[in-house]
Symmetry: C2
Subunit: 315 residues, 2 copies
């Protein structure tokens, strides 16, 4: 692996997670944030996330990884000689628009400029840039150091070269880039997530099933398969003739279920949310959420080890 | 654990899987099928599925488990002294209706009569039975010996006692029963599955993303979390204030995505199915589907070991 120079611009939760995965993979990382003290606050957080990964066997040497991360006092310093810029500043179209103009002007020619943006369409801040071809969206899933997928969405003038190079780079650091060909609200992961949750909300609201049992259906059912196969491969392996036979054989059953799904957007009414909260809190009271989040992260690390992935070559 | 006597009526794929999990858990199982030769064909299939589980460390002693399974030449023989009847005959309302009348008349008082029915509403074959209170739906997910969840749906007159006893029994054999309070088309697991797939079909059809990348988003993203947390617990752990704070903070983002989900039932047009097939077959040609199914089952067994569940006490 060729060691690269990366700039992480914005070091909130996402920027910190990016820094950890870049450094874990052996790259040099410069951190910059225009909020005073932000970088100083980020460094120990990055170190403790690397330490947790080391404990789980996912990082070899925390000190060496931290040694590859440096604080930059200015944007110009952070951008010095970089190959990849990862922007993770606040979700504000004006801020991102101004920043992308600056980044495009100041980043070295050939550097890719990737945004972690989650809700603003890239056409609103990546358009009409001289270097629009090198600008792209690379949207991680929280927590990115434990969830491999990165939604790579093409901006208004992203070049194929940028897409290919960005994906090759992300694969090299142990992530799994997927290609979103054009702008779409909510990206794909959250659309799929809320398509399922939306139906679940209707089923709980209609008295068919409890929220706890929705969770059981997913974690002891669907999630067992989806942890290593996607939904279409699941279909493909559900008939000896593959997905063609599957959709042919079950066309009317599948069409029947699809026709029955709840369509009216659920109002997310406070009564329903209280009911969900009551059920969730009876298992994990709010005071215990932080401890349970640590449990979640340990579970994710254990699964990462189980599947043997997210293990870029180090040193 | 008290050793129970079980009758498996109908020994197609589902009946065989049930027999394997009942015998694995230490219970005595009688097999009956009114099709000539069906039981003889089932026995070696059950043995090889137990052998595969033994190889994965999920069964201690295949011979002992097979020793608990016997073939019955008549329904009356199979029902002799049983505690639990598991019906898994063909999806035909007339056949199930007639069979439930017979089972209710001939099964010992106190025995639970559970149906594996997947598409016929229980009210169409469980109504007006003298012992309607002991009749219930216990719908497994394929393959039931590797997927823990069982959808337990209350029939038109199922008693609470039957529900509780059936769930206790299922938990004792290592499965995870969930409660469906009333009849619902497609049950819950498949409704959730196809809610997600339905959105995925629209996204592929609209040119946003490939089918392969839909699979990647799920297996390297959503599925990592859903393998051990349900969707609502995932929400609950996404804010330090729990699910109430989560839905409060992200109300407009979530509502926005829900409002944007594709609502019109997808026509499942042949062009789209061909496209899915082309992508799926480029990774796994139809001729290799059986080998990949074995890979899937090995993956499921490895996950079962990873999570340390589906391991009822044996012997």
């Amino acid at each position: 692996m060729k060691k690269k120079k990366i700039a992480c611009i914005g070091v909130g939760n996402l920027g910190r997670a990016w820094a950890a995965i870049f450094a874990r993979a052996g790259h040099d990382v410069a951190l910059y944030d225009n909020a005073a003290g932000a970088v100083d606050a980020a460094l120990p957080a990055i170190e403790s996330s690397l330490a947790a990964m080391a404990e789980a066997g996912l990082v070899d040497n925390v000190e060496a990884a931290m040694g590859r991360i440096r604080a930059s006092a200015t944007l110009a310093d952070a951008l010095q000689g970089v190959d990849h810029v990862q922007e993770s500043v606040i979700e504000d179209v004006e801020v991102k628009h101004a920043l992308f103009r600056t980044l495009d002007r100041e980043a070295p020619p050939g550097a890719i400029i990737a945004s972690s943006v989650s809700s603003i369409p890239p056409s609103e801040f990546m358009a009409n840039l001289e270097g629009g071809g090198r600008c792209i969206v690379a949207h991680p899933v929280n927590p990115p150091h434990l969830i491999p997928v990165i939604e790579v969405m093409l901006g208004p003038s992203t070049s194929e070269e940028t897409f290919e190079a960005c994906c090759a780079f992300l694969r090299g650091i142990g992530q799994v880039p997927v290609r979103l060909n054009k702008e779409i609200f909510g990206y794909v992961l959250n659309r799929l997530q809320f398509a399922l949750i939306h139906e679940a909300l209707h089923l709980v609201d209609g008295g068919y099933i409890s929220a706890e049992d929705i969770d059981n259906v997913v974690k002891y059912g669907l999630g067992r398969r989806w942890a290593f196969m996607g939904p279409f491969e699941t279909n493909h392996l559900n008939a000896t003739g593959g997905i063609t036979e599957y959709y042919d054989k079950f066309q009317s059953a599948i069409g029947g279920i699809i026709a029955e799904l709840h369509r009216e957007p659920h109002p997310l009414n406070p009564e329903l949310i209280s009911r969900l909260a009551e059920e969730m809190e009876s298992a994990t009271p709010v005071a215990e959420v932080p401890a349970r989040q640590e449990w979640r992260d340990r579970q994710l690390m254990a699964l990462t080890r189980h599947f043997g992935d997210m293990r870029p070559r180090q040193e």
